[in-house]
Amino acid sequence: MSADDEPDARGADAGGPTAEERGDTLGRGPRALVRVAVAAVFVVALVAVVLVVNGVPHRVSQFVGGIVSAASGADSATVGPTASASAVPSASASAVPSGSASAAPSAPANAVPSASATAAATAPTPTPTAGAPAISGDQALIDAAHAVEATLRPGTTQEPYPVDADDLHQAELVQANDTRWALLSRGLGLDAGAVGTIVVLPAIDRAYTLTDLIERGAVTRVDDATFLVGKTVFVARGATLDLQGAGQTLRLSSGASGFSPLVVWGGTLKLGGAEGAPLAITSWDTAADAPDTTVADGRAYIRVNEGTVAIDRVGLSDLGFWSGRTGGLALTGSSSWASTGSIANTTIDRDHVGLYVESAAKVRLGSSVVSDSVRAGVLVGSDVVTVDIADSTVRGSGASGVDVRQGAYDVSVTGSTLSGNAHYGLEVDGSPRAEGASAGGFTPENSWGLEVSGDTFTGNGKGGATVTGMSDVAFDDVAIDERRSGLVLTDSQGSIADSTVEVDSGDGIVLAGPLTSVTVSGTTVTGTGPSAIAVRDGADDVTRTGNDTSGWTERWQALMWLEAHPLALLWGLLLVIPVLGFAFVFYRARRQRRIRELVEAATIALAARDVARYEAGRGDDVSGPEDTEAGREPAAGHERLDPLDEAVDQWARELHQAAGGAPDVGSEATATHDAADEDSEPVHGVPLRGPRRRVPKSPARTTARYAPVQNETWLLGGPLSARDHGVGETARPPGAARAGGASPTGQPVSGRSSAAPAMTSSRADGEAAAVRPAQPRPAPMVAHTSIGRFSSVEELAVTAVLDAGKPVDRVAAALRVPVGTVAGWVAKARRARGE
């Protein structure tokens, strides 16, 4: 609100209406008070509406209700200890211990290690999945977990966190499996849902064989060479399962009704075939009579935990889901007991994760092929020491071929081929898992030991290899042929020697980060990009000796980025245009503003002169000296007006010059007196009337006419100046105007001057009358506004468009008239001119 809305801001005693007449009868203080009250009413009403709409009262009442019921629950608990607190669905914090205790009356609850184990223990007679008989009790475990969760989570009305149902189910299956293995490995027996679906092999003095499995009902024979594993096989601590079957196929049943994993917990797993006749192990959906390709309901897998594995000449396919440890073939351990083993001459096809290694030591993958894994081909997790991948092929993985995570040491990849993986062929993160003390108690030291030699990297999506934060890195005799990125070492220390790196377009070798300390020697880098061996981001300890980068074509990074993002160029260009346009518009607006200011000053001066003349013409009987007001000159005879005229002349000249007009135009005009004006007296001819010219009829003539005039006023951005600044003026005796009031033709005559003499004479041939038939032809008068010698904005606009060839929109903008209006005028004038 502006200050003049205040009652006192406008002078009430200056003669205008009083405060009472305006209705401003409320004092300042009461008004402020009432304003505050009104504002408060609105704010409260709006806040109330918003709160109600957002359901806040509902939530508040729920909260209050929760407190009330909790209080009453506590009361009843003190009254009688047998009260079933667990029956209150919205169990508050105080109700939880009693709730969980009372809900698990029959299970060995004292020994349960975790909440999910509680779920297993408290499961009330789980029902197997409808339809086919369950081959594993996973669903029962999940249901039990849900039941426990329901007792711990009061807010059942909350919107569920958005998750994919399939994803959630897979995660729950993994959790249920973990729970079961935890129970079994502690000898706590089976959860009820799994009874009859698991065959546990305790430690005996010999190795279990396929025959043992058949005898115990875990395996049924399909034909001579094919066996179906229908139950989960759990090899307990100290036991050994030895399955040797050249050319045989072991099908792990896996489908909608559950799946049968092969789990070794602290034991030994030996799988073997023969050369040319491997032992095939695959998941098997009995309903579809085909390998299980649906992971949403889980899929069979092989896991060795805290154990030993020896696999030779085996073909694994279509195994695993969701996590690394259930990913297909997994070697896991604990901080106190690592797994170990070797896999040789083996193919792993279409597993979730080809080989997962975590908390393991001395693992070797030799002469094997890992292909088409859903996720990584070989995933090396934390707490792993010494992994050798030798003479193997990892291809077609959905992530990186070999992915080494934080906390893995002494990894070597030798003589292998890593190709066609979606991310990198080899991705290694050796950076420390913690910078200081942490909950996990990790070492602040980074990982060390990465040997890559004799390998081939080709056709990987993101690049050949990327290594981060690793020490003792040695790339030797490596051949990398990639599209975008060859080899990236970030904050790593080591060497690259005798290798060849080839990229189509991008980075050959990138050494980045301040902790980098790398020697590059005897390496050939070919391709196109910013630089063959790029050193970036503060890397300074880089030694380059004997490298061959002659096959490298340098290209700018920006150029390559543009090539990779071709649309960006287009967008960029689109941005440039408005930027230039703005600059131009700004420049023109500034110039026009200056001209406008001058025009306004001239207009004010001319109007003031009009007023003075008017008063003078009426005589001193009307306006006494006391009538003098700001902006109005006292009427005091015509000779007193001369300084004013001069001021007007001065404005006009300035205007002309500001617009770049040649001074001589003005001086030429100064001499001009219009004969038509001579009947009016007194004559105060204001100079700057342009030379008289006929208004050209066609644009062609316009061009001819305006060509010689270079420095004219461009009020409209075009040469109109000879007339624009024509502020010439002859006064008309005001008395005459008052007395007459109408021209001889009976038409009213404009009291103010409206048509310039030049215009009048130039249009005397009737053409002008045709243009504006409705306009009365006033006696020869002169204009005194920024319109110049035109009798109307319309005339000016039409001349600017038709004669001066200015675009309609610019004329409209300059005159601040709608474009459509100008266009209409122009059309009308065209018709009138017969064009």
């Binding site: 609100m1 003049d4 406008r10 002078g11 200056a14 003669g15 205008g16 209406p17 009083t18 009472e20 007449e21 305006r22 209705g23 009868t25 409320l26 009432v34 304003r35 009250a37 009104v38 609105f42 009403a45 509406v49 109600v52 359901g55 009262p57 509902h58 009442s61 306004e600 207009t603 004010i604 109007a607 003031a608 009009d610 007023v611 008017y614 009426r618 009987d621 306006s623 007001e629 700001a630 109005r632 005001p734 105007a737 008052r738 009031g741 038409q747 404009s750 009291g751 409705a774 306009q775 009365p776 506004t785 319309e794 005159l815 601040r816 709608p818 459509g820 100008v822 209409g824 005028w825």
Partner: protein, 424 residues
């Protein structure tokens, strides 16, 4: 008990959720309002030293001489070049009293009125100055009105300037307070926004200024406007405004030029005035559309014209929503919430007036009702009786406008500090 309460509140929340948006129409209408409000709030009056010759033209028909002379004194104080008062032949009392003053710059023309338009034509033809300021005979000027109204004319594309008006002695009648509220809304929220783009769609006739040379050739169109075969009597201001707009000139609003005008103090006269204005606006805007002038004005003016024409429709939709709330799960609650929202919404739209005159919050329900009354029945009635010509509030056998004579301001007779006396 708590669950009962929570389900009750839940229902309440749903009900309001269902009602609050008032449909797409509400959103559209509110966003137009907001845009215009923002533009209006950011539009500042033109300030410069442009002063030129001005003739004040006052058509006066059976005006209470007291009112006329009081206003005349106010106009003279601002020193226009001339004042031309066009009286009806029967207004001899006023003629005698004005001429008795002996002001040489005040000219009285006796003329047999054939409606306000004819008187305006006579007055404008009699003027010989750059600008003519058309003033109603019962309109008083705030200080600096005449200076301020000239300022926008520095732009030669400006053909007319509208002024900000309020109600004279608003506290003498509830109906005047209501009128003051409604008119404030127009000048706070609408006129400046349209004036900024040179497209004020009606420079109210109570006080407005025109470039004489523009309207002079258009006087026949003003005096003899034929709408569906009938010559128009009222609605001179809208007609003149559109005649100027149709020539491509800008019509701007000068918020610093302020005037106070007499408004009726009875409900009957209030309604009559609204009916007349509604008819005028329908005729005026339909003519503008028919002649294609609507396409020469800025977009914001086009939108405003459309909104004015469709006011009955939008108000009908709003009312339908309000009454449809009776079918909600909690009918009476929903209905009262809808009504409450109607009041609050009206208050928000009138927030500028409420800021200026916060004590008017007490007439908020009345204003809400009157707005609905004007927007639906009155406008609808006006729509179907559009071509009924007549002034309704002024007649040959009474002095002053109905409910607008000096006598209606009785409360003023006291010590001068009254005005609102009747309300208190």
């Amino acid at each position: 008990m708590p669950s009962d309460l929570s389900s009750f509140l839940d229902d309440l929340g749903r009900t309001i959720m269902w009602l609050l948006p008032f449909g797409v129409f509400g959103i559209v209408s509110w966003s137009f309002w907001l845009v215009r409000k923002l533009i209006s709030a950011s539009t500042k009056p033109v300030v410069n030293d442009f002063r030129t010759t001005t003739t004040v033209v006052v058509p006066s028909y059976r005006e209470d001489p007291e009112v006329l002379l009081r206003c005349l004194a106010g106009w003279r104080r601002q020193k226009p070049s001339r004042i031309v008062i066009v009286l009806d032949l029967a207004d001899v009392e006023a003629q005698r009293r004005i001429e008795a003053l002996g002001h040489p710059d005040v000219e009285v023309i006796m003329f047999k009125h054939r409606g306000k338009r004819s008187a305006l034509g006579v007055g404008i033809r009699a003027a010989d100055t750059e600008l003519v300021v058309l003033v109603d005979s019962d309109t008083a000027w705030e200080d600096g009105m005449l200076a301020a109204i000239q300022m926008p004319f520095i732009d030669s594309a400006v053909g007319a300037v509208s002024t900000r008006q309020n109600v004279y002695l608003p506290k003498t009648s509830t109906w005047r307070r209501v009128a003051d509220w409604i008119i404030d809304q127009r000048y706070y929220d609408y006129a400046p926004a349209m004036g900024r783009f040179g497209g004020v769609i009606c420079a109210s006739g109570r006080t407005s200024a025109y470039r004489r040379e523009i309207i002079l050739p258009k006087l026949p169109d003003l005096e003899h406007e034929i709408f569906l075969g009938k010559e128009c009597v009222a609605g001179d201001d809208g007609r003149l405004t559109w005649l100027v707009l149709s020539e491509g000139y800008r019509v701007t609003h000068q918020d610093s030029a302020r005037a106070l005008s007499m408004f009726p103090d009875t409900f009957r006269a209030f309604v009559k005035q609204r009916v007349r204005w509604s008819r005028n606006s329908y005729r005026c805007y339909l003519t503008a559309i028919r002649r294609g002038w609507i396409f020469r004005v800025p977009f914001i003016s086009q939108i405003t014209v459309m909104q004015i024409l469709f006011t009955p429709v939008s108000m009908a939709i709003a009312l339908v929503y309000i009454f449809h709330s009776l079918t909600a799960p909690l009918p009476w609650l929903a209905f009262s919430m809808a009504l409450l929202w109607a009041f609050v919404g009206r208050g928000i739209r009138g927030i500028s007036h409420l800021w200026r005159r916060p004590e008017d919050i007490v007439i908020l329900p009345l204003v809400t009702g009157i707005t609905a009354l004007v927007a639906l029945p009155i406008k609808l009635f006006a729509l179907f009786t559009m071509n009924t010509q007549g002034w309704l509030t002024r007649s040959a056998d009474s002095v002053g406008g109905e409910g607008q004579s000096e006598a209606t301001l009785v409360a003023r007779a006291g010590d001068g500090a009254v005005g609102a006396g009747r309300e208190r």
